[in-house]
């Protein structure tokens, strides 16, 4: 991949992330990072805070705050760890499942509404790249 494409991709990621953040600003909705955490717990099942911190590349104290916020919104609950009294497991609530599967809610969000305005070919390109970008973001 040439330099110019990389520079353009980086700018696009940064700008998209900012615009996604602005969509929720002020509202009482999960922030993009919080949505990412909900998504991860859904994909991977119950997880400990430190597992989540490593996966999302934030420090443990930051994950503490994110979990507190999601718990306060009723989207996550804590479950005692089966063998280790220091740890606990984070689980999605029914409210989170509802939020996530509520397609109307999702479709009203910025990203979907903008993707819908792309051409079919462009949408296919983004769809094909989505999984790759997800793997890229996970790389050690």
């Amino acid at each position: 991949m040439d330099q110019e494409t990389v520079a353009s991709l980086r700018s696009a990621i940064v700008l998209l992330a900012r615009r996604l953040r602005q969509q929720v600003a002020g509202h009482d909705a999960p922030t993009p990072t919080e949505m990412a955490v909900l998504g991860r717990v859904g994909r991977c099942g119950p997880m400990t805070p430190s597992q989540l911190a490593r996966a999302e590349h934030v420090q443990p104290p930051s994950m503490t705050k994110i979990i507190e916020s999601l718990e306060g919104q009723g989207l996550l609950r804590r479950q005692p760890h089966p063998t280790d009294g220091r740890q606990y497991l984070v689980v999605r609530t029914q409210a989170a499942e509802a939020l996530i599967s509520a397609s109307r809610q999702m479709r009203s969000q910025w990203l979907v509404s903008h993707i819908d305005r792309l051409s079919v070919a462009d949408r296919q390109a983004v769809t094909a790249a989505a999984a790759v970008l997800a793997r890229l973001a996970e790389m050690p």
Copy 2:
């Protein structure tokens, strides 16, 4: 594009943006947003602060700070506006051109090194999507 793909794309964007930000933390290098501004001035030529703020979807006071920082790093300079005494134009310096065309510098950065580890097919998918994502990020 189905809901799950959108959710995964959103998480990937948020996570990639965080990891890009962590790459420059503490160093005396342009932040991702600053690089985006440098790239935009390169693509569009000399621009006023308010044009840049609109393009990057930040508020004018935020752009003031970004321009100050880039000017402090010697990557941008101000040029009087030809017809309007209130405005000024922002231009890239030779140092910025050097920074941007220094492929070694670029290639040492996180994004390129990780993209290089993708398979050929994956790299093609990301390359194809890069321009689309850039357009997506620009949409009104």
